[in-house]
């Protein structure tokens, strides 16, 4: 309900309309969805995961485990939005989740009635018979009742962006410690980024209102912010959460830009990828719930959260609030509620005495304080109606029933150590405060061996204003100093505190609670994990904290145990009779709160998913209606269908035309690596199996490149440019990989060799003019001399063709007379256009990658990736001629000498022709008699390439067959697609122009 007192964040003159489950409701500008729901008495907001119990708000911030709703519709639908982190805007539509048919009446609540049959890990013990029932019966039911929100139905049309920044100091958290850290670092001159996850500065201080430097916390925050804003070296961001810390000072922050103002343009969210010299985590602390029976009934909230709602939003949960605590801090809630005109019938304090300043203030207000007391049980179903009071040190005998409609609980505080821990920062158990805090002696270490995360303020275990603010200031100064900024930042601000008495750790309430109560004490509200579940885990031997977590699902919900982990851990420790620090915590993993996958993706979606690499004639291919195939990040024309031709028809036409007239291939994607330097020849002799150092200037040589293990990894034509320069062609997919391979050897092994490698693939357009009329065409265009004598096969020359400066290579991957012509990339399109235009008279047609494959297969030329697969050595492909015997060494030489590599039983390259002329299936295996020791059918070979040959008008294939070259003419059986076998004859792999005359004319 909305109080008459004003909340500090809401503007009552600016009403905002929204809906919840279709019901039209009103809040005010400045509300969160959480505060607006509470203002409308909508306490019930969801259902729990396992038992489908009614769930209300427990917290006011990122730690909220219960209040998850679905927002928006269609391409704006978002499941599992945490209402405490959703700022209200006009037209916001929220729906509750995980119930059927409605939030108020959920049949799934039957699980709660059956809860005694569904303890921790029950599913490991049942649903086993009969075997088929798991997939078909049990699992579908479990899946349907699990999950939370509905899956979105469409993609997301919002935009998301990434920022990359480098800063001296990243400060996470805009409470007073974080502000003080940013202030000190900023004054010292460091480049500072300060991020705060909520929409306001000041953290708890502006709610609890201590004084700082003699003024109110709010005034100090305002003044500090004004100073930070004026510093050019400091950047501050609200709605920006420090999400994760990674090695080497890398951090992520997630900024929500327009979630609160959907009508505003621009990206929805921004992911900051930050390199920070030091990361100061001023992430605050989270209040712990207390474990008493039925502590999950809507209306039971954290004490500080209740204060937040009253002070920030002028909203209360109930008229009569009972406070239950083990510390002094929760008394502030009693005072805040009292000040707001609400009834506080009692403060139930588990400690044997409560004599601090705050309890005395509360007593002075006329509020009853019951010490050594606890809550035996909460009354109410969908809302609290009262509490049963008992002695804390007893078994739960009820001494008194207090009617109330709200319970505020506080079990003490736990520092938020997530970011400290993400990258290996260690924790230490602080006995007096009963919490884990960062161990300053064991921070996450950066590349310099120093800790690069500094935890400050309450996140460092300093719960009081004075020490928190001083801690932040000193850390900011220290962090700036590391980056070389030593200007004096002045004195640390002075905070003022009310003294508090120590808390008494309370892990279950009452201390001697019997099973009946323990089985109703919730630890993890969302996942329905109770004290009895953790105790059962311990009883069954799940003693490691990781086992207990996984067995019970404690802390595995969408809040990742922010409220439940420490309480659960304490229960486990007690059950095992071990000290809490010995049991330890589970691992804190990024992100701090769930991070939208779209934000991680940023702009890299759809067309921008990966760069599309285009050759200079890509647009021409596109305009011709080419069918493209992805090859690496390139798109290459697969074929150029004309009219209503199928792709297959087009390939046939392109092959025939290239054999009969002249074809034109865009070979620009082939890798081109310049290898240059005094040691370049020596280097290439190591890289290739062939000798490259003795290649004469002006000549070309086909080369093979092997991995260290001897396997063929790439091939291509190498041309000697001048005395110390070679141009190495690689496969399309190989350019980047081979460059990296060369650099690897040059940088790691032969660092003293004088060799330079440059990838010039994209600097040249390269086209193959192929076919019997190729020379006629080029001569018709006019330019450099290209006769057999001027430019023989396997040579290259520079000159001009049609006025273009070109480099022409007499090489052939088709068996035809062929010129590969390179021009500067910028002239590629014009040169291509000229070839196409002039080629018309000679019947020139472009051909795509599939025709290229067929042409080479007809000639028995191997293709990397088809004939090779990382297990094939050149010798398998009868390429011994390309392996130098003169060289002492080359990469792969030793590998090729190993016993398995020289095994005479290795499968070797042959040609294959089906007896019936059909085309063998891609990837077909040749079967042999019998089965191996594991019952698998024996094989004796496989198909590596298979095509319909338009030239020979039948299916042709290449394959690797055991003893293949010695079995010419033999017929063996290959597998067929969909089963069965087909007979194929082993033949010479060169199907066309066996003597190689055509390419040499």
């Amino acid at each position: 309900m909305r109080l008459r007192t004003n909340g500090r964040l809401v503007a009552k003159n600016r009403p905002v309309h929204f809906t919840f489950n279709g019901k039209r409701l009103q809040g005010y500008s400045g509300d969160t969805l959480a505060s607006a729901l509470l203002a409308n008495d909508q306490l019930l907001v969801g259902r729990s995961f396992k038992y489908h119990r009614p769930r209300g708000l427990v917290a006011a911030g990122a730690e909220e485990p219960n209040a998850l709703v679905e927002l928006g519709r269609g391409d704006r639908q978002e499941p599992n939005a945490r209402v405490t982190q959703v700022e209200l805007f006009d037209g916001l539509a929220a729906r509750s989740q995980n119930h059927w048919p409605s939030l108020e009446f959920d049949v799934g609540v039957i699980n709660a009635k059956l809860s005694r049959f569904l303890p921790a890990g029950f599913y490991y013990k049942t649903f086993m018979q009969p075997q088929a029932f798991w997939k078909h019966v049990y699992e579908p039911i479990i899946r349907a009742s699990a999950g939370l929100g509905r899956a979105p139905e469409t993609g997301d049309d919002h935009t998301y962006e990434h920022f990359n920044v480098t800063v001296d100091v990243l400060v996470v958290g805009g409470g007073i410690a974080g502000l003080a850290a940013a202030l000190a670092a900023g004054r010292a001159g460091a480049r500072v980024l300060l991020v705060e996850q909520t929409s306001g500065w000041g953290g708890r201080a502006v709610v609890d209102r201590p004084s700082i430097e003699g003024i109110s916390a709010q005034d100090w925050v305002n003044a500090t912010l004004a100073e930070l804003d004026a510093m050019p070296n400091v950047d501050v961001r609200l709605r920006c959460q420090g999400a994760g810390v990674f090695d080497h000072g890398y951090a992520l922050a997630h900024e929500r830009l327009t979630d609160h103002a959907p009508k505003q343009g621009g990206p929805r969210q921004r992911l900051w990828r930050i390199r920070a010299g030091r990361i100061v985590t001023a992430t605050g602390a989270i209040e712990r719930p207390l474990s008493f029976a039925y502590n999950d009934v809507p209306g039971v909230l954290l004490a500080a959260a209740l204060r937040d709602y009253v002070v920030n939003f002028g909203v209360a949960v109930g008229e009569r609030t009972v406070i239950v605590t083990n510390n002094d801090d929760a008394y502030r809630t009693a005072i805040a509620l009292h000040d707001a005109g609400l009834d506080v019938p009692a403060v139930i304090d588990a400690r044997t005495s409560a004599k601090g300043e705050l309890p005395e203030q509360v007593r002075a207000l006329g509020i009853k304080v019951l010490t050594n007391s606890g809550i035996a049980s909460v009354d109410g179903g969908k809302r609290v109606t009262g509490v049963q009071v008992c002695a804390q040190d007893g078994e739960g005998t009820v001494t008194e029933t207090i009617p109330c409609d709200c319970v505020a609980m506080s079990g003490g505080w736990s520092p938020v150590v997530h970011l400290w821990s993400h990258c290996g920062g260690k924790l230490v158990w602080d006995e007096p405060h009963a919490f884990f805090r960062p161990d300053a002696d064991r921070p996450p270490l950066g590349a310099d061996g120093e800790g690069f995360v500094i935890a400050v303020g309450t996140a460092n275990g300093h719960l009081f204003t004075a020490e928190a603010i001083a801690d932040g200031f000193s850390a900011g100064r220290k962090a700036a100093k590391v980056a070389g900024h030593t200007r004096k930042p002045g004195q640390a601000p002075m905070g003022d505190d009310v003294a508090e008495d120590a808390l008494t750790p309370v892990w279950i309430m009452p201390a001697q609670a019997p099973y009946k109560l323990r089985s109703k004490m919730w630890l993890d509200y969302q996942n329905d994990v109770k004290v009895s579940d953790v105790q059962l885990a311990a009883q069954e031997g799940f003693q490691s904290v990781e086992h207990a977590k996984r067995y019970t699902t404690l802390g595995m919900a969408t809040d990742q145990g922010k409220l439940s982990n420490i309480n659960g851990l304490a229960v486990l420790s007690n059950a095992l009779g071990e000290a809490i620090p010995r049991v330890g915590t589970t691992t804190f993993r990024p992100p701090y709160t769930p991070l939208p996958l779209a934000a991680i993706t940023g702009v890299a979606r759809d067309e921008l998913f990966q760069p599309i690499r285009k050759t200079p004639v890509h647009a021409w291919h596109d305009a011709q209606g080419a069918e493209f195939e992805p090859v690496g990040q390139w798109r290459r024309p697969y074929a150029y269908p004309r009219g209503d031709e199928t792709a297959h028809d087009a390939v046939t036409r392109e092959v025939v035309n290239t054999r009969e007239n002249v074809g034109l291939l865009d070979a620009s994607t082939l890798g081109k690596l310049i290898v240059k330097g005094p040691d370049a020849g020596k280097f290439l002799d190591m890289m290739y199996t062939n000798m490259m150092s003795n290649l004469a200037v002006g000549k070309c040589r086909y080369g093979l490149m092997c991995s260290e293990n001897g396997f063929l990894m790439d091939d291509g034509v190498v041309a000697r440019m001048d005395d110390d320069t070679w141009l190495c062609h690689t496969t399309t997919g190989g350019a980047d990989r081979i460059l990296a391979h060369m650099e690897d050897w040059l940088q790691c092994e032969w660092w003293d060799w004088q060799v330079y490698v440059a990838n010039v693939t994209e600097q040249y357009a390269q086209f193959a003019v192929v076919g019997p009329k190729a020379r006629q065409l080029l001569q018709a265009i006019g330019g450099m001399a290209l006769t057999k004598d001027d430019l023989p096969f396997m040579q290259w020359a520079s000159g001009q063709i049609g006025g273009f400066d070109v480099r022409v290579f007499r090489i052939s991957f088709s068996g035809e007379l062929s010129y590969e012509i390179a021009v500067a990339a910028g002239q590629g399109a014009a040169f291509w256009d000229m070839l196409v235009k002039q080629g018309e008279a000679f019947g020139l047609m472009p051909y795509g990658t599939e025709a290229l494959h067929v042409l080479r297969a007809e000639k028995g030329f191997i293709m990397i990736g088809d004939e090779t697969d990382g297990t094939v050595i050149p010798q398998d492909l009868n390429l011994n001629w390309a392996i130098s015997k003169k060289k002492d060494d080359f990469l792969g030489k030793r590998g090729q000498l190993r016993s398995h590599m020289v095994d005479p039983d290795r499968w070797k390259l042959v040609g294959l022709e089906t007896v019936d002329g059909s085309v063998l299936a891609d990837g077909a295996y040749a079967v042999a008699e019998g089965v191996n020791a594991n019952g698998q059918r024996n094989t004796q070979g496989r198909v590596t390439s298979t095509y319909y040959s338009p030239t020979l008008k039948k299916g042709i294939a290449m394959g690797l067959v055991k003893h293949g070259p010695t079995r010419m003419g033999e017929v063996i059986a290959f597998t067929k697609e969909g089963g069965g076998f087909v007979d194929a004859r082993i033949v010479d792999p060169v199907f066309y122009d066996k003597d190689g005359e055509k390419q040499n004319v």
């Binding site: 978002e78 499941p79 899946r143 939208p596 979606r605 077909a924 698998q936 059918r937």
Partner: protein
């Protein structure tokens, strides 16, 4: 052992579950065991289980330096498939897959094996040919797989965008009997069954040394004292080479961090497991509703169990591209594990230069799916000195060059 069943739960429900006993005992090390297995992950526990079940060897200790199942067994994305290309791989993974089918009943522990089907998308012509080859190979290996059309892909996984602007889906390799299982339950189920046979599972017990005599193993030094043994099985994944060094030999293993992540849970929207190797991502939906997403390995060797965020970015991009609806979901948690990778990306199940020491490692990024088959084969190797399933996985293959390279067709992700 008290059998688990719906009746047992009902009985316990009426006595406050006080009758459940420890799933596995809390054992103190004995002075000597016939067999010591180092490493209480899935592979180590399965090895112990089949030593007992198939060979009657039950004087066995399984030593674990941390908590059982706490390594890669508890960190993986739970995918089970056997659609491997090479014969030795297909044999051991298919053995594993078929054992998974009856594992819940065999162990009396519900490991939730769910044969929901695994598809590997082809998004280039090269992948089409590779996966078609795998189908031919699988059919001869007794592994049921098929090549399916894009339309069938869409039918099996309606949330997939098969017409993406960048890499349209051209078809897929489909193994209908592949699926997922609950990873922790596999470790716990084997541990409980081992303990039931009288084996000792000793956690918080780190092996600090290996003792030998005349080239033969005699025992181990541990943080809980020296323990003698007849045979020693090393099954410690990412730390295999560290342990091997203590026994005086080297392994061709590199250890790198492999990452994974889960989304927040949502209602069921995806029934199958999808792997997309061109764009580098794979995903399935857990019974809890989380989208379980596998990432890539880091480019440098380390033992941090963390990893670099840019790999997460790469994986997430791939999945948003393939399944546009997931852009609206949120990453709940990311984590890393240390995978032990061999030169050919295939495992080592082998005798070693030290008599009596056997090693099972190198499962790299794909070990979970192999657990029952690996344990079965390793047990046979340790009990009999040879197993047809491990024959080709000997560490000597690196000497002979007889690699088992799967990256050739099955893509990068295992």
């Amino acid at each position: 052992m008290k059998r688990y069943s719906a009746f047992a739960i009902a009985r316990e429900a009426f006595r406050q579950h006080s009758g459940w006993t420890r799933a596995w005992g809390q054992a103190e090390p004995k002075p000597r065991y016939d067999v010591i297995i180092v490493g209480a992950g899935g592979h180590g526990l399965a090895t112990a289980y089949y030593l007992g079940k198939n060979f009657g060897i039950t004087n066995v200790a399984v030593l674990e330096k941390g908590w059982l199942g706490g390594g890669n067994t508890g960190r993986n994305t739970t995918i089970i498939r056997s659609n491997y290309l090479q014969d030795p791989s297909a044999a051991i993974y298919e053995k594993a897959r078929s054992l998974y089918e009856g594992l819940s009943q065999d162990l009396n522990y519900n490991v939730m094996f769910s044969p929901r089907g695994v598809m590997m998308l082809a998004q280039t012509q090269h992948e089409i040919r590779g996966y078609q080859r795998t189908v031919h190979a699988n059919n001869l290996q007794g592994v049921t797989t098929e090549w399916i059309s894009p339309a069938r892909v869409k039918e099996l996984c309606p949330i997939m965008n098969i017409d993406g602007p960048r890499y349209p889906v051209l078809g897929a390799l489909w193994q209908a009997r592949g699926g997922t299982a609950r990873h922790d339950a596999v470790a716990w189920g084997y541990a409980r069954a081992c303990a039931d046979m009288g084996m000792d599972i000793i956690q918080q017990c780190e092996v600090t040394g290996v003792t030998t005599e005349a080239g033969k193993v005699t025992g181990v030094n541990t943080t809980r004292g020296d323990i003698k043994c007849g045979k020693l099985g090393m099954v410690v994944a990412g730390h295999a080479s560290v342990l091997a060094q203590k026994a005086g030999f080297q392994l061709p293993i590199e250890s790198v961090a492999l990452q994974a992540l889960v989304s927040e849970p949502i209602k069921p929207c995806m029934d199958v497991v999808v792997m997309a190797n061109t764009v580098h991502g794979y995903m399935s939906q857990s019974d809890k509703g989380e989208m379980v997403i596998g990432g890539g390995t880091d480019g440098y060797n380390n033992y941090t169990q963390r990893g670099s965020f840019h790999h997460i970015e790469e994986t997430v991009r791939a999945l948003v591209e393939t399944f546009p609806i997931v852009g609206r979901l949120k990453m709940l948690r990311q984590w890393g594990g240390i995978v032990d990778v061999t030169g050919d990306r295939s495992p080592i199940l082998s005798k070693t230069p030290v008599e009596g020491i056997f090693v099972n490692c190198g499962w790299g990024t794909g070990g979970f799916k192999a657990i029952p088959g690996s344990g079965w084969a390793m047990a046979e190797l340790m009990a009999k000195g040879a197993s047809p399933l491990t024959e080709e996985f000997s560490m000597n293959r690196f000497r002979h060059g007889k690699f088992i390279d799967e990256s050739v067709a099955a893509g990068v992700a295992h």
